[in-house]
């Protein structure tokens, strides 16, 4: 009687979860199966008592109640929804996509098996949960219920931008808007975005102001409107709109105007979680409330990461929430201390400035005060304000910067003119230490207050840095003090002792050198962007960076970010504190290979950049 159903048993031995069972049990299980044949198009599962069905040959599609594809079963896939309690899948309708041969295990037999092996049942439930989450993601991909955080602006652009030249008359512009049924018109000059005109502008700046409608539309437009890149998360657009009280945001890549996103587009695509969290931050009336709300961030972050959101999107998301948190903390402090006696700009630098925040970042911020600032009269106010905000940020999870490079330190709370002179000193009379400070501060981004106060500093950096390559050369030298952790035979050089023995520091050896390279390239070409990827893209094809080199660096950056994201995800899911240390042997062979290449690319690019500045200094 032995070996007679060998091919069926051997097939079962390949099907999860049965592959874990010993041969004798598989043999017995094979004998309990029934076989059904479904012609293409037939309903699935077959009518009759509940079974666990395994596709032996063919394919089955399962559709969710709304008609979207929930799951596709192929050879060796099994369907146990009818055997599990409250399974959503049990209500899905299926049909054979091809002629299909099914093996079925009757429910009673499956239950006997589960009694003998409770872990199989646990696995079945776990798998079901996984599939349901995946199906939901699939559905999101098809454009049903989406969450703004995972959505990029590019996905919200539904039509090419309606645009005109700024010298068009107001009347013609209004006619064009009416014809195209749009509430905003982009004004483009020489291929670049010059301004935007909305229905509201036509009303308040033209009609109400009694302006002649034959005047050029440029007289009523908002010049140089705020815009976002296509890869920015939609959530960020919502924050921008709320902050600025506007309803339209142009989407621009480089100089190319890609389209326009309106608040209506966002509302249409709106989901819950992230937006809800942002909204609660905005309405919070106490530090406790803010801290409690931010306490939900790790869970949300994990959900989004599991859902497949990339490191770039998550970095921007955390940065966006940190922006919001900072703004709210400032508002609360001002409500307590009274309005600021002189205008100020709150800036964030480092990873917050680059919008590359991870879940465990320390805070990097500074205060730019108007030149009318008088330390004797206003010093105490801004000390209290910045201390309150820095402590608040710390209470919400952004640990205090160990180097005290924060707005609560009087050295980082300076009038604009002093900052200007400081920056000039770092650029023109640099040394290794000043270059290190510049590396940090020059990634800044205005977060709150009057952005006009920090703008001159950004302009200064953009114009002066390309002309003072000594600073850049020092930055290159600083970067080179962190050699790639590869030995002579490309083996990884890991920590030999201490807490992280046998591990590699992905941040110190990988991400920081990449940030540095991108920063140096951006400074050298006067690019004002602060994001690492944006900087590399902007510098590609310039004097110091070939397009291929930029591509290599971008790929290296993506890889390291993804690796760190996975690492953080795993640690977070396991309830461990986050760090950037990875043991090479915990990686797959392919990942190790890739990581070696990445370190190789970084070292090559560092050498190339060093040589490039050496050359230009000789010339």
């Amino acid at each position: 009687m032995h070996d007679e159903l060998a091919e069926i048993r051997d097939f079962l031995a390949e099907v999860p979860p049965f592959h874990q069972l010993p041969g004798a049990e598989l043999e017995a299980l094979s004998r309990a199966l029934v076989i059904r044949y479904l012609r293409r198009g037939s309903d699935f599962p077959p009518a009759g008592p509940a079974h666990l069905w395994i596709v032996r040959q063919g394919a089955v599609d399962l559709r969710q109640p709304d008609g979207s594809l929930g799951r596709r079963l192929a050879e060796a896939d099994s369907f146990d929804a009818a055997c599990l309690p409250d399974s959503e899948e049990a209500h899905w309708s299926g049909h054979a996509r091809e002629d299909t041969l099914l093996y079925g295990l009757p429910l009673e037999r499956l239950q006997t098996l589960w009694q003998a092996h409770p872990e199989l049942r646990a696995q079945a439930l776990e798998k079901l949960g996984e599939r349901l989450r995946k199906a939901r993601r699939h559905q999101e991909g098809e454009g049903r219920t989406r969450d703004l955080s995972g959505l990029q602006l590019a996905q919200l652009i539904t039509r090419p931008p309606v645009q005109a030249a700024p010298d068009l008359s107001i009347r013609a512009a209004a006619a064009l808007m009416t014809r195209e049924r749009v509430s905003a018109l982009l004004l483009v000059e020489g291929g670049c975005l010059a301004g935007i005109v909305t229905d509201r502008d036509l009303r308040s700046r033209c009609l109400a102001a009694g302006l002649d409608d034959s005047s050029p539309v440029s007289t009523i437009m908002t010049a140089a409107p705020h815009h976002l890149p296509p890869e920015a998360p939609a959530f960020e657009a919502l924050l921008e709109m709320t902050r600025r009280g506007i309803h339209h945001l142009p989407v621009v890549r480089g100089h190319e105007v890609l389209g326009l996103v309106s608040s209506t587009d966002l509302l249409r695509a709106q989901g819950v979680s992230v937006v809800d969290l942002a909204d609660r931050l905005r309405r919070a009336t106490s530090l406790e409330e803010l801290a409690r709300t931010m306490g939900e961030l790790p869970e949300l972050w994990l959900t989004l990461a599991r859902r497949g959101d990339g490191a770039t999107a998550l970095g921007r998301l955390v940065a966006g929430l940190a922006d919001l948190l900072t703004q709210r903390l400032l508002q609360l402090a001002e409500a307590r201390l009274g309005p600021a006696p002189v205008p100020y700009a709150w800036i964030a630098y480092g990873s917050h400035g680059r919008q590359e925040l991870t879940l465990f970042s320390d805070q990097d911020n500074a205060l730019v005060l108007a030149d009318s600032y008088d330390p004797a009269k206003h010093g105490e106010y801004f000390r209290a304000l910045s201390t309150s905000v820095c402590d608040g940020l710390a209470a919400c999870g952004f640990i205090l910067c160990p180097g005290e490079m924060m707005a609560c330190n009087p050295r980082w709370r300076l009038p604009l003119e002093t900052w200007r002179l400081t920056f000039l000193d770092w650029i023109c009379h640099t040394d290794p230490q000043k270059a290190r400070l510049a590396s940090n501060l020059f990634d800044f981004r205005p977060i709150a207050g009057d952005p006009g106060l920090s703008q001159p500093l950004a302009a200064l950096i953009a114009t002066e840095s390309p002309r003072h390559e000594t600073l850049l050369a020092h930055m290159v030298t600083n970067a080179a003090t962190r050699p790639a952790p590869l030995g002579f035979f490309r083996q990884f050089l890991v920590a030999r002792s201490g807490e992280h023995q046998g591990q590699l520091d992905l941040k110190f050896h990988g991400l920081m050198p990449l940030h540095e390279l991108a920063r140096i390239h951006a400074l050298a070409c006067g690019c004002g962007a602060t994001g690492t990827a944006e900087r590399l893209r902007a510098a590609a094809g310039g004097r110091h960076l070939s397009p291929e080199g930029a591509e290599d660096l971008l790929a290296a950056y993506d890889f390291l970010q993804a690796l760190r994201l996975t690492h953080h995800r795993e640690r977070l899911a396991a309830g461990q504190a986050l760090d950037n240390f990875v043991a090479p042997e915990s990686l797959s062979h392919l990942e190790r290979q890739r990581l070696r290449d990445v370190f190789g690319i970084i070292a090559t690019q560092q050498r190339a950049l060093g040589a490039s500045f050496q050359e230009s200094r000789v010339l």
């Binding site: 009687m1 007679e4 159903l5 091919e7 069926i8 094979s30 004998r31 309990a32 199966l33 029934v34 076989i35 059904r36 044949y37 479904l38 012609r39 198009g41 037939s42 009759g48 032996r56 040959q57 063919g58 091809e98 002629d99 299909t100 041969l101 079925g104």
Partner: protein, 231 residues
Amino acid sequence: MLPLLRLLSPLLPGPARRRLWQALLPASPLWDLLATPLPDRNADWRDARYLALDLETTGGDPARDDILSFGWVCLEGEEIRLATARHRLVRPRRALNEASVTVHRITDDQAARGEPLETVLRDFLADLAGRVLIAHYSPTETGFVNAACQACYGGPLLTPVIDTLALARAEALVHAPGSLRLGALRARHHLPRYPLHHALSDALAAAELFLAQAHALSRGGRLSLGRLLLD
């Protein structure tokens, strides 16, 4: 009396023959089979019960050759039940020749461990009761089982038969050489490849092929059992 009946019985219609032999035969597993009611020919094929059979033999002539093994599996309507799958080796009356050893990979030693034909036949007939017999190229199976019934119980095998090869042949007028083989037909109906020439896997292969053919012929609608039966 009996020789005359043997001569006349093929001329009678099926039910009458069954009744006749039931009246003539003494109590035996064959008599039990004849006494069990058969599935209704006019009912939908999905309501009938079946048994798919494959035999391995020492040659092609039931009068001279021996059965080496039985493989069978039962179907309840359109559901094959592997719990009913059986594989039984039979001890042949004569020594094996080289050709059949090559084809079936059943050696003299294995065959010697086989059971007496009557033991296996008794169990087989018990399972067949009330079922339609399915085989691929059924003359082999019906011929050898009929010979065995005659030898053991003195009467013929009278059972409705579905021949998957005949069903395939009826699908078209012209057939390419080899296209009616079990493996080729299974591939045409998108069924998996099984290692053939093992009585049980061949029986299972025929059972699955039958399901595919019956579904194809009924095109989602009703199809009476009678339309699928041989004769």
